[in-house]
């Protein structure tokens, strides 16, 4: 067990790194999907740039949520300074706490990008319907936000556990 305990920090760091990696990759892909669709609209109607940009950016937030969890975890486990004495169980718990944003962040970013691309097409044809078009991708984001919430609460909660 003592030997295992030295690996606690490794699992915790793995969780944090995945939280930055996976949603980040997904958001990059998602934003590029929006960019491709948006560029097409701009060639036809450059005046829609502002609206299209907002829609393109919407699925970019998952990457930021991931970063957020990664950062909170890093500072909790002492990688950014302080003591890094993490037991094996605690390390695994940190890892698990990161999972919601890792998994939901990944899949929701891609799905949200699809909704965003569809909304960009709406703006191309009917720029006045921007307000409604914006809501569709935002609906998808709800689940990323819920996952973020659980990850925040879990990471914060784990740090208070005495195991």
């Amino acid at each position: 067990m003592k030997l295992l305990n030295e690996y606690g920090i490794a699992f915790a760091l793995l969780g944090a790194v995945l939280a930055a990696l996976v949603p980040g990759i997904a958001s990059a892909k998602a934003v590029s999907m929006g960019g491709v669709a948006g560029a097409g609209v701009i060639t036809e109607d450059p005046a829609q740039f502002g609206k299209v940009l907002i829609l393109q950016l919407l699925p970019g937030t998952q990457g930021i949520y991931g970063l957020l969890i990664a950062f909170i975890t890093l500072s909790q486990i002492g990688v950014l300074g302080g003591s890094s004495d993490i037991s094996f169980v605690k390390g695994l718990l940190y890892f698990a706490a990161c999972l919601p944003i890792v998994i939901v962040g990944y899949s929701s970013a891609i799905k949200q990008a699809k909704a965003a691309v569809a909304s960009i097409n709406v703006v191309a044809k009917r720029p006045d319907q921007f307000g409604k078009a914006m809501i569709f991708p935002a609906m998808v984001e709800t689940y990323a936000i819920l996952a973020l919430l659980i990850s925040i609460l879990a990471v914060n909660g784990v740090s208070g556990l005495n195991i």
Binding site: I54, L57, L58, G60, T61, I64, Y65, L67, L68, F71, I72, L80, Q129, F130, G131, K132, M134, I135, A138, M139, E141, T142, I145, L146, L148, L149, I152, L153, N156
Partner: protein, 668 residues
């Protein structure tokens, strides 16, 4: 919280005053013209397609000309010009523009012709330059390229692929002597040759050359290449000169730009007028205008019209089946949010205007999501500055947008102070890295740090959510009262509000919930009991009444049960407000990450400089991405959670007959 009351207006007037009356109405811009009467034998509508067409043609030509002009001569536009609004023009300019119209259209046409000419000349120039390129290898040849031979000789001018020496060529043609071969120029790619042979061997020589992949030059000219080259170059110079004069002329139209823009506006006004004329009922001497007018303006315009012209005005209440257009009546605090309501949908028939109620929550939710006093300060100051600087000329929609962000910014400052966030934790970081401050936080939050007590923050967010939803239901009740539909008031609003409140009370009395939320309230036993009873009564009420549109009692109960199942929807609605916490935390934590990164570089002489650069760039990015998030998700909470409870929309906005110009505003 209201809409302007609309009335039907009918104006019966003499045709001789038609132009002046329409001019006046267009200037006032308070009547939306609609067809309300049918055509008959005497009163007919006029076909104005022809007149409109010439205006539309002008608009098309001028738009094209402006696009061309802008591509040749850059327009001087400052970054802030969109804030400035339309330029004001005195009325005389508008009135006298009719005389100038033709000349401006001519300028537009000339610009289009010029751009065509420039394009043609450029194409010609490219053709010439290609020929020059082809001719260049032949420059040492002193006979024309189309030389075919003399009486007794045959000449071949052309190219061989790859590099050839004189010997190699002679070797191939040795059988057909006498002949003369000259290499005009040779490169690795091709060798240009001139072969002269006797007429007897003409065909044999050609065959042999063909076998060597001999190709005739792609152009055939009467002059010697050197001479021809000079000609071409001269021509190219001439073309360039012509292009330059065209460009000069194009530049000279820079000063006509304003006229061109104004023509667009002028024709827009005319087209709008033609559209209205097309809707008028006209007899030989009389015409009738019908439409909607806000009640507050009806009296005034009636007086003005009757004092100036011989006509009759009739104002009546709108009929039941009328799709009355929507015009808002709101104060300065909630007016900025009309745009948000419109982008969902303007209030439909019989609906109340939700702007006022929405505005209270809109600013609050936005502030909670951004929740950083520094960011809020930047937003508020930026908007206030722009509003002040362009206070006289700024257009209304822009003004409203800026005002909305101003109020959102103020709310953000408030919540930032409550939660102790100033550009993340900039004061703490600057204090500890540069001034050795030990006591952090430098400015403690007025209430608490959400990062330290996330569950308390979550509880607060859900409480806000429940309040928001209850107000949505109350709005439904209010609407029912307005329509005197008291059944709906009790069944759809009161029952649900009671059920929700009693359920919340019951949940709060459970140990588990109390533990999760970390709150400690002891509800008196009788309150819990009362809540339980109320919950059962209201749930039963919902089951019995919410399927009331079905006559079949069995179906009715089933529908009622399904409606009660909608309570799970309320659960997800309330949970949806947890985004307030998540987005609020995101702003604060990313802000502190930026500060921490900056603090890592703070050592050394250049430390403070690098620190400042990182802080500025980092926070600029953070404010952008989080303000966007706050805007989008505030809208979502309003549209989905709040409007879902009582508001459908579906109305059309009031579009008065007026001067909807784009570039200039005509002064009265």
């Amino acid at each position: 919280m209201a809409l302007q009351k609309m009335q039907r207006i009918y104006i019966y007037a003499l045709k001789k005053d038609k132009d002046r009356i329409l001019e006046l109405l267009q200037r006032r811009g308070i009547i939306e013209v609609r067809n309300m009467l049918k055509e008959d034998k005497i009163f007919r509508r006029e076909d104005i397609g022809h007149a409109k067409e010439s205006s539309e043609k002008n608009v098309a030509a001028v738009s094209q000309a402006l696009e061309i002009l802008n591509s040749y001569v850059k327009e001087n536009k400052s970054l802030l010009s969109s804030l400035k609004g339309r330029k004001e023009l005195p009325e005389e300019v508008y009135a006298s523009f009719g005389e100038k119209l033709e000349s401006v259209v001519e300028i537009a046409k000339r610009i289009i012709t010029l751009s065509k000419k420039i394009a043609e000349e450029k194409a010609e120039l490219i053709r010439l330059q290609n020929q020059i390129e082809i001719l260049k290898p032949w420059v040492n040849l002193d006979i024309p390229l189309n030389f075919k031979g003399t009486k007794h000789t045959a000449g071949f001018i052309g190219t061989l692929p790859k590099e050839w020496t004189l010997e190699e060529i002679y070797e191939k043609l040795a059988a057909y002597m006498p002949l003369d071969v000259e290499i005009i120029s040779a490169t690795k790619e091709q060798t240009c040759i001139f072969v002269l042979c006797t007429n007897t061997f003409k065909d044999n020589v050609f065959e042999t050359l063909r076998a060597m992949d001999f190709i005739l030059p792609s152009i055939s000219l009467d002059k010697a290449p050197a001479e021809q080259l000079k000609d071409f170059e001269k021509q190219a110079e001439e073309i360039k000169g012509r292009i330059n004069t065209y460009l000069e002329e194009m530049k000279s139209y820079d000063k006509s730009r304003e006229d061109l823009y104004f023509l667009l506006d002028y024709e827009t006004i005319r087209i709008e007028k033609y559209d209205v004329i097309g809707n008028l009922l006209q007899s030989k001497n009389v015409f009738i205008i019908t439409g909607f007018i806000p009640e507050k303006d009806a009296k005034h315009i009636e007086e003005e019209l009757t004092s100036k012209f011989d006509l009759a005005v009739e104002v009546t209440e709108p009929k039941k089946k009328d799709q009355v257009p929507v015009l808002y009546k709101n104060n300065g605090f909630c007016e900025p949010l009309e745009g948000i309501v419109n982008s969902f949908s303007p209030p439909g028939k019989g609906e109340i205007d939700p702007t006022m109620v929405m505005s209270l929550f809109y600013y609050m939710l936005f502030g909670l999501m951004l929740s950083d006093a520094g960011y809020g300060f930047l937003m508020a100051v930026g908007c206030a500055f722009a509003l002040y600087k362009f206070r006289n000329t700024m257009e209304r929609p822009m003004k409203n947008t800026l005002k909305m962000y101003l109020y959102c910014g103020i709310s953000t400052i408030f919540w930032g102070i409550m939660f102790g966030s100033y550009f993340g934790d900039i004061f703490d970081v600057v204090g500890t890295t540069f001034f050795g401050v030990e006591k952090v936080p430098v400015i403690p939050p007025l209430w608490f740090f959400p990062v330290e007590k996330p569950m308390l923050m979550l509880t607060f967010c859900m409480a806000v959510g429940i309040l928001h939803l209850l107000i949505g239901l109350a709005m439904k009740g209010y609407q029912a009262i307005k329509h005197k539909d008291y059944k709906s008031l009790v069944y759809d609003a009161v029952f649900w509000i009671t059920l929700l409140i009693s359920c919340v009370l019951l949940l709060l009395s459970m140990e588990m919930i109390k533990n999760i939320l970390g709150i400690n309230i002891e509800l008196p036993a009788y309150a819990v009991k009362a809540a339980g009873i109320l919950a059962i009564i209201s749930a039963a009420g919902i089951i019995l009444t919410n399927g009331r549109e079905s006559k079949n009692p069995f179906k009715r109960i089933l529908k009622g049960l399904y409606a009660l199942y909608g309570i799970s929807g309320y659960l997800s609605d309330v949970l949806s407000y947890s985004r307030l916490l998540a987005l609020g935390l995101a702003t604060g934590v990313i802000g502190s990450v930026i500060n921490k990164m900056a603090a890592m570089t703070a050592g050394g002489i250049f430390g403070p400089v690098i620190f400042t650069v990182i802080v500025i760039i980092g926070h600029a990015l953070n404010i952008g991405i989080n303000a966007l998030g706050a805007y989008v998700h505030t809208n979502r909470l309003q549209y989905v959670e709040f409007f879902g409870k009582f508001y459908e929309g579906g109305g059309t906005l009031f579009k008065p007959f007026g001067m909807h110009t784009k570039y200039y505003k005509i002064k009265e």
